[in-house]
């Protein structure tokens, strides 16, 4: 294929969209047509995954900051360019996206029966937008992808969602949009500043890293700009108190929508902080460090408490997301290598385990058409295999040693402890509450006698469902037992990130594994 070497990232980003458009030509009438559509989409996402694996293989952690770069001038009047590139930070999120996409698609084979063609078109379009946001090295391009994500997600929730789907879809859209519009104003300002300082407009992120912005006080340019970006990212994360759109969107979205939303879209927030928020505004990060750590801690504890009392499994998982993403925030804002690495790892973990939880909830929902915890009980007797997988994922979410969750949360708490032991102690209670709500839910759903006669004849996991869940279970253990596989390609990028994001840009980076003695 033409230009596969020089336009490697473009191929990855736009492959799903190509498949989406080609899929429009499939006549999706009747059962055969629908099956063809499903398989075509699955094929598209698998090929994208395959291509992204070769990205992983060819990425050299010791090489340049950004690899596989492409730059094409786009709107020269504004300095916007089509600039793509990958570093360790985007690499794993790209892989997470392409890894989960086929699973989400396969997971919705039987759940979606009306308007099949549109559904899969939107899923693939969404994948392109997400991948685009992860590889953009131009803030204008990033914004375009960031916004373009909203439309497919909005339609996915609004058309194939539950009862309150329209309300949830609208809320999701408006919340995200308000945040990102203020970010847009900040982008204008940055481009203008670049013109004033460097003599030409530029929205290239790497150029913007070099800007000197006055900071240090609340009303300084840097703080205001940082807050404009932080608002957009914090809504996406979502950080307490901006999280209220999430439970609605999660609960109403179809299974694949929830999976993608939790696993990838929420990561956009964290990624935004890492790619844009921190390195451009280092002084403000220091200035607002405590504020955000407090908010993150509140999110951890509050999310856990609220999750505990939810009668609906999906809503419980949604609030657990709020809690887990709180860890990401305190890890990031602890601004040392251990915390940031843990925080990044936690994003991946959350993608895997929450994605898996939503898929599992989808499995049981397809059989029973309810998600009320009280409607279940004793499921482990009827569906033993399902119960085992559910258990593994639950433990990963609870952060049991040996699973992926443990590595992330442990590093985060370790990193945060160095900065603020008091808050870290409070945050640690979240780990306990996390175990409480997850295990309690598991107990009520799985154990005890089968009280509800409707639960007597449930079928255990089908081959297709096994295919969806097995890779996730494998990922839980691989990430839990051999995290070095991930850190290897990540570490140099994280070090560079820390260096850019701390005001003292000359300080040598701490190494994660060599000086734990400090």
């Amino acid at each position: 294929m033409a230009g596969i070497d020089t336009h490697f990232l473009s191929w990855i980003v736009f492959l799903p969209l190509l498949f989406a458009f080609a899929g429009l030509l499939i006549p999706a009438k009747g059962t055969a047509g629908q099956t063809a559509m499903r398989l075509w989409t699955l094929l598209g996402s698998l090929i994208t995954f395959g291509v992204s694996v070769s990205l992983y293989i060819n990425y050299r952690p010791e090489g340049a900051d950004f690899q596989f770069t492409e730059t094409v001038p786009w709107i020269s009047t504004l300095g916007a360019s089509y600039a793509l590139g990958v570093d360790g930070i985007s690499l794993w999120l790209i892989l997470l996206t392409t890894f989960l996409m086929p699973l989400a698609i396969l997971g919705s084979f039987s759940a979606i029966e009306n308007r099949v063609k549109e559904y899969y078109f939107l899923l693939l379009a969404l994948e392109t937008a997400m991948l685009g946001a992860f590889v953009s090295l131009d803030i204008f391009l990033f914004y375009v992808f960031w916004e373009a994500m909203l439309i497919p997600m909005y339609l996915l929730i609004g058309i194939w969602g539950g009862k309150e789907r329209i309300y949830a879809a609208m809320k999701f859209f408006l919340y995200t949009l308000v945040g990102s519009l203020l970010m847009l104003v900040a982008i204008f300002y940055l481009a203008h500043q670049h013109k004033l300082q460097m003599g030409a407009y530029s929205t290239n992120i790497l150029d913007l890293y070099k800007l000197q912005l006055e900071g240090g006080t609340f009303w300084s340019a840097q703080s205001i700009l940082f807050l404009a970006f932080a608002l957009a990212f914090a809504i996406k994360v979502p950080l307490f108190p901006l999280h209220t759109w999430l439970p609605d969107a999660h609960v109403q979205a179809p299974t694949a929508g929830s999976v993608i939303l939790a696993a990838v879209l929420l990561k956009m927030g964290g990624y935004g902080f890492m790619r844009i928020g921190f390195p451009i505004f280092p002084e403000s990060v220091a200035y607002f460090q405590l504020t955000f750590m407090i908010l993150g801690t509140i999110a951890i504890v509050y999310g856990a408490w609220v999750a505990m009392v939810q009668p609906d499994i999906k809503k419980l998982v949604a609030y657990s997301s709020v809690s887990h993403m709180g860890y990401v925030i305190i890890g990031l804002f602890s601004l040392n290598e251990i915390g940031v690495t843990g925080s990044y790892y936690q994003m991946l973990n959350h993608g895997i385990s929450t994605g898996a939880l939503f898929l599992l909830v989808g499995v049981i929902y397809e059989r029973r058409h309810t998600r009320d915890i009280s409607a279940f009980g004793g499921i482990s007797k009827v569906m033993p295999m399902f119960a085992i997988v559910f258990m593994i994922i639950t433990l990963s979410s609870v952060a049991l040693p040996g699973t992926n969750g443990f590595v992330g949360e442990f590093l985060i708490l370790l990193g945060a402890w160095k900065v603020n032991p008091g808050l870290t102690a409070v945050a640690t209670t979240g780990v306990i509450f996390g175990a409480v709500y997850m295990l309690w839910m598991f107990q009520r759903v799985m154990f005890g006698p089968v009280t509800n006669p409707e639960n007597q004849k449930l079928k255990d996991l089908s081959l297709r469902e096994w295919t969806v869940l097995a890779p996730l279970v494998a990922a839980v253990f691989v990430m839990g037992i051999y995290p070095n596989l991930f850190f290897e390609k990540l570490e140099p990028s994280i070090q560079r990130f820390i260096m850019k994001s701390t005001t003292n840009r000359t300080a040598p980076p701490q190494s994660l594994f060599s000086d734990n003695s400090k």
């Binding site: 549109e118 439309i151 204008f188 013109k195």
Partner: protein, 501 residues
């Protein structure tokens, strides 16, 4: 312009160059006359011939105007008119808007039993008015052009003679429009009294040369001219007429008005105020006054337009308020035009983007409307994505573009407009503007909710889409996405147009 004392023969003859740059006007004028003659043919049905003549005229005009865009300015008629890249750029926009409206109207007129040749002829005349408006350098020419445009449109608004709302709209528009024209004319008279000239440049030069000439009367004259224009573009607080008129007018006429008329008024606005007052080196007082007036107007227009649109359930009325909101965004470009790098090019670009997406939206509405413009309430669109997926998709593209979601023309234009406002230091204004556009997303998306997320109601009626209308809608979708993805070219043309003035 020097005052005419004796008749100078060179003013009575035109050079070849002048005739060449006047070609677009000749084409449209000639076409209008021929169409008018064609419409009185008794034996032949005038329907097809007039339609063909009109379309041929408009596209010939587009062709000629596009060819003239790169050319330098030529002053005509002793400095009363200019043919430059700016005027030709806008001529292209007007002519295209008219052509698309004519294409979309064809079957609509059949269905409503209004297939009268006068419709097309009136569109041609109003386009001629718009073209003159965009090239006027003299207040008298400006006024005549404005009236030529408006009078034709007054009639078009009342074209559904049997409908009471259409009549009401025409009457309201006529009376209020005349009042506004009177205000504009009175302002011109005051300026003439102060400066002794009706040439726009003459007024400015005098004000610059003799600060003493900037008397309160002069400022009043300028203010009245401004208010006259603000009325024409329907900026708050002069917007009251607009929703009723838009709702009452036949759908394709509404589409034509929101684009052609608005673009024309803004074109004249740009030309007058780039020359007058806001231009560099103009008097401080006038400049400061302008800034404050436009600032307040922009905020009011955006807030009123967007918030009132939230509560509308009729699509035509909703788009009318959204049109007010877009006027507000354009005024943002106006406030900041002189102090940013792109200058008025950002505003010009926005006019074009707005014309594209709005024409498209109204084209779709025309196709969807039932007898007597019924069937344009939100719930009538329920499940449109099932009944007519292509039209639903097209309408979604236009609405998302108006909401400013990438990758559409609306986003690119908004990005340019607001970023030049930030360059000009108007950050608070931009923050208000983006928050208003966040509000606007709600009502645009609500249409999508009905189209995609509600079950279809009633029997699936079969929509018949004529080839003409289909081509028009498809072209607008392509343009919306093309300008959104690769805005560079359009920006460059807009820049050239503004600089070449």
């Amino acid at each position: 312009m020097e005052p005419l004392k004796t008749i100078r023969p060179e003013l009575l003859t035109m050079s070849e160059e002048q005739i060449r740059v006047l070609m677009p006007y000749f084409v449209v004028f000639g076409g209008a006359i021929v169409a008018m003659l064609g419409s009185v043919l008794k034996k032949l049905s005038p329907k097809w011939p007039v339609f063909i003549i009109t379309l041929a005229t408009l596209f010939a005009g587009v062709w000629v105007s596009i060819g003239l865009i790169p050319e330098g300015p030529v002053t005509l008629f002793n400095g009363m008119m200019a043919a430059d890249s700016f005027s030709n750029f806008f001529n292209t926009v007007f002519l295209l808007a008219a052509a698309l409206s004519v294409m979309v109207s064809f079957r609509y007129l059949d269905r409503e039993g209004l297939q009268l040749p006068e419709y097309n002829v009136l569109i041609l005349f109003s386009v001629l008015g718009m073209m003159l408006l965009a090239s006027a350098l003299d207040f008298i020419v400006l006024f005549i052009a404005l009236e030529l445009m408006s009078l034709a449109v007054y009639v078009l608004v009342g074209f559904r003679r049997a409908d009471r709302r259409s009549n009401e709209a025409a009457m309201k528009y006529f009376i209020l429009g005349s009042a506004a024209s009177a205000v504009l004319l009175y302002g011109t008279a005051l300026l003439y009294g102060c400066t002794g000239t009706t040439a726009i440049k003459g007024v400015v030069h005098l004000a610059q040369a003799e600060p003493a000439a900037v008397t309160p009367v002069f400022v009043l004259g300028v203010a009245m001219v401004v208010f006259g224009f603000l009325f024409k573009v329907a900026a708050a607080p002069f917007h009251m007429w607009m929703p009723d008129v838009y709702e009452g007018a036949p759908v394709p006429v509404t589409g034509f008005m929101t684009t052609g008329l608005k673009a024309a008024a803004f074109a004249a606005f740009f030309r007058v105020f780039i020359n007058l007052g806001l231009a560099q080196g103009a008097t401080e007082v006038v400049q400061r006054h302008f800034h404050d007036i436009f600032w307040v107007c922009a905020v009011l227009t955006m807030v009123i337009g967007n918030f009132v649109a939230l509560t509308q359930t009729n699509l035509k009325r909703m788009l009318a308020y959204s049109s007010i909101a877009h006027t507000g965004y354009l005024l943002v470009g106006f406030v900041t035009g002189t102090r940013s790098e792109l200058g008025f090019a950002a505003g010009t670009m926005y006019v074009v983007a707005y014309a594209i997406m709005n024409l498209g939206a109204f084209a779709v509405l025309t196709l969807l409307s039932g007898k007597d413009d019924s069937g344009l309430n939100l719930h009538d669109l329920s499940g449109l994505s099932r009944r007519h997926p292509i039209l639903a998709f097209a309408l979604s593209v236009f609405l998302l573009s108006m909401a400013g979601i990438p990758p559409t023309a609306g986003f690119a234009a908004k990005y340019l407009l607001f970023s030049s406002a930030v360059q000009a230091g108007e950050i608070s204004l931009v923050v208000i503007a983006v928050l208003c556009s966040a509000v606007s997303v709600y009502y645009y998306l609500r249409v999508l909710v009905y189209m995609y997320m509600h079950e279809p109601i009633g029997s699936p009626q079969t929509l018949r889409v004529s080839i003409w209308a289909g081509v028009a809608v498809a072209a607008m979708v392509v343009l919306t996405l093309q300008v959104g993805l690769i805005p560079e070219r359009m920006v460059n043309i807009a820049k050239k147009a503004v600089i070449g003035m």
